[in-house]
């Protein structure tokens, strides 16, 4: 298969970037999108050009490192799934494909398609953990957790922190990410003691990082590679209201 690519090139955070046209030929339909970029980079290196910088790590959809907006969709057209799980057979032969970084003010471009997502780390550092040392994994049934809660917490914990939710959101909001982290811990007994302070601090840092606000368009859940449901955002709203109320009445 042959493709025409329009790829965002930007030397560093301070210089302006632009879309540059490339061509790749004789690509197997079973090549992954990232492998196709590897092939293009090999060609660029052979021609003495600077290769295209992009992020990837596990290449099996579990690490959340890859972060490309392909034809205007975060992680490309094959939802749910990360870019590394996208194969060239999803595209028409001779198609023109536009590749951009995740565009959110809180994710500054480092180079080309590589972005700095440490804003998400700072949200987690604000409260997305349990302060007490929990030691090694306890006996499975020593702390009983209702099945429904355990399942929901597991669903929320599936978030791989890629930031596609904020990238796809028309408002650049990271509510789906934050809601998954808040819900995951709020649902489990180990997370209960810090339930209120956690949601207040994490939302405060989320806002301070310059993410937008949720307007319930549900674009985030449509592109999420871990299929996190926007119902967790409703849960975040509940948790936040509850924490604010309890703080007001002085609890």
């Amino acid at each position: 298969m042959n493709f025409r690519l329009r790829i965002w090139r930007q030397p560093n955070a301070k210089s302006p970037g632009k879309l540059v046209d490339y061509e790749v030929r004789d690509i197997s339909p079973n090549t992954s999108f990232l492998e196709m970029l590897d092939i293009l980079n090999e060609n660029l290196l052979r021609g003495g050009e600077e290769p295209i910088a992009f992020d990837s790590d596990c290449r099996e959809g579990i690490c959340g490192t890859c972060s490309l907006t392909i034809n205007g969709e975060a992680h490309g057209p094959d939802h749910p799934g990360a870019v590394c799980e996208l194969y060239m057979r999803k595209f028409r032969d001779d198609a023109t494909i536009t590749v951009e970084p995740f565009r959110v003010g809180a994710f500054p471009v480092v180079k080309d398609l590589v972005i700095d997502r440490s804003a998400l780390d700072r949200i987690v550092q604000a409260g997305g953990f349990i302060s007490a040392r929990a030691g090694s994994a306890p006996e499975a049934n020593s702390i009983p957790v209702p099945k429904h809660d355990a399942d929901l917490a597991m669903e929320a914990a599936a978030c791989i922190g890629c930031g596609a939710c904020a990238a796809a959101c028309p408002n650049g909001s990271a509510m789906l990410f934050t809601s998954a982290k808040v819900s995951h811990l709020a649902l489990l007994p180990q997370g209960h003691p810090e339930r209120e302070s956690r949601v207040l601090k994490m939302v405060q840092v989320m806002d301070a990082e310059g993410f937008g606000n949720c307007t319930n368009t549900y674009e985030c859940e449509a592109v999420c590679p871990a299929e996190i449901s926007a119902s967790f955002i409703a849960k975040l709203n509940r948790e936040y209201a509850r924490a604010q109320f309890r703080q007001r009445i002085g609890e």
């Binding site: 907006t69 939802h79 536009t98 028309p170 368009t217 449901s229 209201a241």
Partner: protein
Amino acid sequence: MIVAVTGIILIVFVIGHLLGNLQIFVGPDWINGYSQHLRDLGPLLWAIRLFLLATVLVHICVTIQLAMENRSARPEPYMDKRYVKATFASRHMVMSGLIVFAFIAYHLAHFTFRKTDPRFALLKPDPFGHYDVYSMMVYGFQNYFVSGFYVLGLFLLALHLSHGSSSFLQSLGFNDKKLNPRLALGGRIFAWLIFAGYTSIPVAILLGLIKPAQQL
């Protein structure tokens, strides 16, 4: 949450106002008596009006502030952007809302304060001594531009409500995986019923189905 609560208040008003207006189909005595009844509330009517005005202003001010934060959250726009799930209505709430606000301002000047049409001052009271709202509406809507702007305003209101009338549940923390798609559909149906209900009035007048109760 403030947007959701003020939104609910305004939705309740939109329903009540529609039920009041639809009395034009029953006849002049009903709608004229109804509007006289509202005016007889006196200070209470003004309290309700000021409350609604405050609700509208809070709804707008908070959303404009949120929208400005949302704009600055993505300083560099996408060269190419496709939406998978976000509807047109949900992405253009500010645009539809502000045009609806402009429409409401005109609508109040037109029918509530009657500053735009000098003919309304010439209308004589109906046989019960009430102001002839029925004829006022008929003469008002006989103008194609007035009716056109009205239909446009209502179209944008319905677009606004097709997202807003189910979205407020999510903002208030209510989201059920099974119920949500049905509530979203219900919200859309509600919004277009509101559109159909309100626009039936100018359409009926322009088709000549409703005639003025008195000549000017």
